[in-house]
């Protein structure tokens, strides 16, 4: 364990719960408390609590904040109502992805943007450069903790603590009072399940965490670490920055065209994306079902003996009980008859539609 890694306000709580800590994007985070598979299954069948306090939060405020958002992010944000959230991408002029974000419209002229931990520094510099002159930009990362409560029992658990929580629509958000402090409650998440994300003052993280443990425990809700977070998001076909998204990957290649709005030319990177949309993408993101081995990031995807792409993420899917992978593959090869090179062993891999897992409603 590196001593230089930053600690979230829940660090002590993780150690108390017996977590195995790992360094992730400069943060000391819980990899698992008991077992990745056990925590994964808890989230699918009951619920899980995740510490996501390593993620960044930046607020854009003022009459022109919406213009800044539309310039910085690819999604259709102008029609976003107060109390709603939307996923989007922040791109370079080339159209390459700098980060994937969720934009929460908290008030009429106040937007909160959730950033990936590893990108916070670069994102903030970029946002300040392109938006700092016409709206107020404030980094809230240091004093904001993020707890995600995910799974079929999430609404019942939070509903007992926050009036009306269960009625909050998907991708809606609302400020609430939690443990005496204002927090932002959002019906968002990264697991493919129903659930909530609670942005709250760091000083209240420990008490809210304990309250959730006490309320959720009897319903089978348990703390879940980064290991389960990864298997859950992968099954749900959700991209992870540094895997499915990177500076040399466009949102269209990553299959996120629905988050690239029609008048995209007005966003940074928009001209490149409009041109790519016009001519078609060279690569596309696929779901693969490798046979008898786990294909992991960086493994080659083959059509016959020709390399046509690479695996971006792969794991054992606890829900399917088999290996699954996502891969970025040349568009003209993205059909059938593919295989993956798993450390020298060539394993056939059926192409399948994403996501691998869809929750029962």
């Amino acid at each position: 364990m590196s001593d230089g890694a930053a600690r979230t306000p829940l660090y002590a709580a993780h150690l108390d719960a017996g977590a195995r800590m790992v360094e992730f994007s400069g943060w000391s985070m819980p990899l698992q408390y008991s077992s990745i598979v056990k925590e994964h299954n808890a989230v699918r069948t009951a619920g899980g609590m995740f510490d996501a306090s390593h993620m960044g939060e930046v607020e854009l405020r003022g009459p022109a904040a919406i213009d800044a958002c539309e310039r910085l992010f690819t999604s259709e944000l102008r029609k976003l109502s107060v109390g709603r959230a939307k996923y989007g991408l922040m791109c370079e002029p080339s159209g390459g992805v700098m980060d994937d974000v969720i934009v929460y419209r908290v008030e009429e002229q106040r937007y909160m943007v959730c950033l990936n931990a590893g990108n916070v520094e670069g994102d903030l510099a970029w946002i300040n450069e392109h938006a700092g002159s016409f709206c107020e930009v404030e980094d809230r990362s240091a004093d904001t903790a993020l707890i995600a409560l995910q799974g079929p029992a999430a609404a019942t658990v939070l509903g007992e603590l926050v009036e009306g929580a269960a009625d909050l629509p998907r991708f809606a958000c609302r400020e609430i009072i939690l443990e005496g402090e204002t927090a932002l409650m959002a019906r968002t998440g990264y697991t493919g399940e129903d659930g909530f994300e609670l942005f709250l003052p760091s000083v209240r993280a420990e008490s809210v965490w304990s309250v959730l443990v006490a309320a959720g425990g009897p319903l089978g809700v348990e703390p879940a670490g980064l290991g389960a977070r990864d298997t859950l998001r992968l099954e749900a076909g959700l991209p992870l920055y540094g895997h499915e998204l990177a500076l040399d990957i466009s949102p269209l290649e990553a299959g996120l065209g629905r988050f690239v709005r029609d008048d995209i030319a007005t966003a940074i990177g928009g001209e490149a994306l409009a041109a790519e949309r016009e001519r078609g993408s060279k690569r596309c993101l696929l779901g693969l079902l490798p046979d008898g081995a786990i294909a992991r990031q960086g493994h080659d995807v083959l059509a016959g003996d020709r390399v046509v792409g690479r695996v971006t993420s792969g794991t054992h899917s606890p829900s399917l009980g088999r290996p699954v992978a996502m891969a970025l593959v040349d568009a003209e090869s993205a059909t059938a008859g593919l295989s993956v090179d798993v450390r020298g062993r060539i394993k056939p891999a059926d192409v399948t539609a994403l996501p691998f897992y869809v929750r029962q409603r």
Binding site: Q32, I36, V37, G227, A293, T315, H316
Partner: protein
Amino acid sequence: MEFPDDVHYTAEHEWLRLEDDGLVVVGITDYAQDQLGDIVFVQLPDVSDTVLSKDEKLAEIESVKTVSEVYAPISGKVVKVNKDLVDGPEVINEDPYGYGWLVHMEPSDDDPSAGLMSADEYRDLVSEGD
């Protein structure tokens, strides 16, 4: 964490149990399975008359989060492999010193336990890392 006294240990987190018939059972330690986490695949060698040298690749164990190679802790022939691991690799997590064994080897050397660690020595080794 378990460190049974009836096996010998290597610094690579394998255990060896010397059987009465002269064969050696090989597996990975409780510490090793705990570090790997949920084991989902085991690639075992073929039973063969070829002598495997010490430190040659013996098996591959893959967990949800990582993959790890197991090297032959001694020189010898692989005479039996634990086929139950193909469909039930999680047995290694549940019972690393029992049903989670990997292979039986016929050692080339007279004293296959030479240079290996006792339970106490191995326990000291893994607690240094904490």
